[in-house]
Amino acid sequence: MSLDRDTVARIARLARLKVADEELAPLAGELSGILAWIEQLNEVDTKNVEPMASVSDITLPKRADKVTDGGIAEKILANAPGGAVYVEPTDKNAGGFFTVPKVVE
């Protein structure tokens, strides 16, 4: 499978990666090289083979559906790159918001 510039631009958009125009052609070459190498998998007969999603033999455990922590809004918001807005400025653990650029008019 060889990827062209447009396909690379489409993948970059899906992955939310800004890729400069002049980088599209070299990236198309690199990614095509990797995919061509990967295609040797087509030599393997996988008819009737169950796909393996996990190596764990264990059944994933379930826990009771209840709140196990909370009340740490300030800790969670401490790393917000755009800053945080708190519901109660005097009690930051009461809750708050991450901020993003305006999305509605």
Binding site: I38, P81, P101
Partner: protein, 490 residues
């Protein structure tokens, strides 16, 4: 007594136990080595203040008779483990400035056992690489050099910093993570022991995720026994990681202290004899088998027919999982934000500026193989091949107890080599990736020096959750090899 920094972890434990040295003295001695070898660029952050506080607290615990398994032992932590209040970067620009508000389970277990953190080690960005050259914070220098050649060599990757600091005697042990070989390959390049446990043995909670079905934390040390002690401190069931195995932690150190391999069936997979492997490594592999045989082990030739497909299958599975895991870096909740004209533009600018070239490549491959119309041809196919790889190992382990293979196809290479074509770099992990795909434990043991004076490792692979047999065989190999070399100047 030898210098404190020359002692193994077990010997340090004994010295502190006999009050020959305090944790504060041990920590100070190692912090001096951090100062002396800063040029290796092995640490992203050193934490001397925290180390001194932890050492004081350790001495106080010992005085109260509450010494833990790793009481007072200084350790370096790969900067992929979240550490409460200490910046964690994953080697990436996109996480620069991020200070975790919580501690990973594995590091919390180590501190509970009494260990002291001296710093966070450098790594390939998001653990994606085999040379440590993809780190946003620059490459790490391998303490080893070729005889008569002053060029800087890579320490391997992705846990390159963690391997280098142990090889340079800056710490007796460190933590790493292994997705496709990121503990074992740098251990081989740096002449130290590196252990990847069975998937599920150590909790992944609080470890920055790369490929969740493959990622597994594990230790580096200079002896097999030390690696076993560290694993004992790191392992254990964790309800916060749903894939963490609900099993008790065995006495791994006891297994490592018992290098008895009489009658042990050691499998040699014939498909690992591939073109491109250095003849010296093949000779070393044969010699390793002869040594185990001399110690009473029984060699068995086994077949793992799908070996050559493990690498391409991995380069679908791992990028697919990485593209999902790394979707969280969007400039909203933590890390870097690069403004844009709207929300999508902000995402794209942030991710475009925050990720390096290799990470970007893998996200794009992952996005492509998971995209509509290609899922069955790539992702499902890779998962089917993965099932066949796991079946190969299962069948091989009906005939043997442990497998012996080379760890890496070459010794350490020069910084900047193998950078032109991504696939050339990927081939570094050809011997480690199959066991990763099957979730099996593997350990790299230093087995000798090549003609240039560089260390080479051999890998032992065990059955799932049978690290003890693997450690026993590794200790037997270590005893027979008697690797005493250390890098000049360290």
């Amino acid at each position: 007594m030898a210098a404190l920094t020359d002692l193994s972890l077990a010997a340090l434990k004994a010295a502190m136990g006999k009050k020959e040295a305090s944790a504060v003295e041990v920590t100070e001695a190692h912090l001096e080595k951090l100062d002396a070898h800063r040029a290796l660029n092995a640490f992203i952050a050193e934490t001397p203040d925290r180390a001194r506080d932890m050492a004081k607290a350790s001495d106080a615990r010992r005085a109260r008779g509450e010494a833990g398994l790793l009481e007072g032992v200084p350790l370096a932590i790969k900067d992929l483990f979240c550490t409460d209040g200490v910046p964690t970067t994953a080697g990436s620009h996109i996480l620069e400035g991020f200070v975790p508000p919580y501690e990973s389970t594995v590091t919390a277990n180590l501190w509970k056992a009494g260990a002291v953190m001296v710093g966070k080690t450098n790594l390939d960005e998001f653990a994606m690489g085999s040379s440590n050259m993809t780190s946003h914070f620059g490459g790490v220098e391998n303490p080893w050099k070729k005889k008569g050649d002053n060029r800087k060599l890579v320490p391997g990757g992705s846990s390159g910093g963690s391997a280098a600091v142990v090889a340079a005697y800056m710490v007796p042990g460190s933590t790493g993570t292994d997705t496709g070989g990121s503990i074992r390959q740098p251990a081989s390049f740096c002449g130290v022991v590196g252990l990847k446990p069975t998937y599920g043995r150590c909790s992944r909670w609080g470890v920055v995720a790369f490929a969740s079905s493959l990622d597994q934390p594990g230790p580096f040390a200079r002896t097999v026994e030390d690696s076993a002690l560290l694993l004992q401190g790191m392992a254990g069931h964790d309800p916060k990681d749903s894939t963490s195995a609900p099993l008790a932690v065995p006495d791994f150190a006891a297994a490592a202290r018992n290098p008895d391999v009489k009658g042990l069936k050691v499998g040699v997979p014939k498909e690992y004899r591939v073109d491109g492997t250095s003849p010296e490594i093949v000779a070393l592999w044969d010699k390793g088998m002869d040594m185990l045989k001399a110690a009473g082990a029984v060699p068995v030739e086994v077949s793992l027919p799908h070996t050559k497909y493990a690498l391409p299958a991995y380069y679908i599975v791992a990028p697919a999982e990485c593209s999902s895991n790394l979707a969280r870096y969007d400039g909203v909740r933590f890390g870097l934000r690069v403004p844009g004209k709207d929300l999508i533009d902000m995402y794209q600018n942030t991710r475009g500026a925050g990720f390096g070239k290799e990470v970007r490549r893998r996200i794009m491959i992952g996005t492509y193989v998971l995209s509509a119309g290609y899922y069955d041809a790539y992702y499902k196919k890779a998962q089917q091949v993965r099932a066949l790889i796991a079946r190969d190992f299962k069948q091989a382990f009906e005939k043997c107890d442990v497998l012996l293979t080379p760890t890496a196809p070459t010794a350490a290479f020069a910084a900047g080599e193998k950078m032109d074509d991504p696939v050339t770099m990927y081939l570094n992990d050809m011997f480690t990736i199959p066991a990763s795909m099957a979730g099996l434990p593997g350990i790299s043991v230093p087995a000798g020096l090549d003609k240039d004076g560089l260390p080479l490792g051999l890998q032992l692979i065990g059955r799932a959750f049978d690290e003890e047999t693997m450690l026993r065989a590794a200790a037997a190999l270590e005893t027979a090899v008697a690797f005493k070399a250390r890098p000049a100047g360290y």
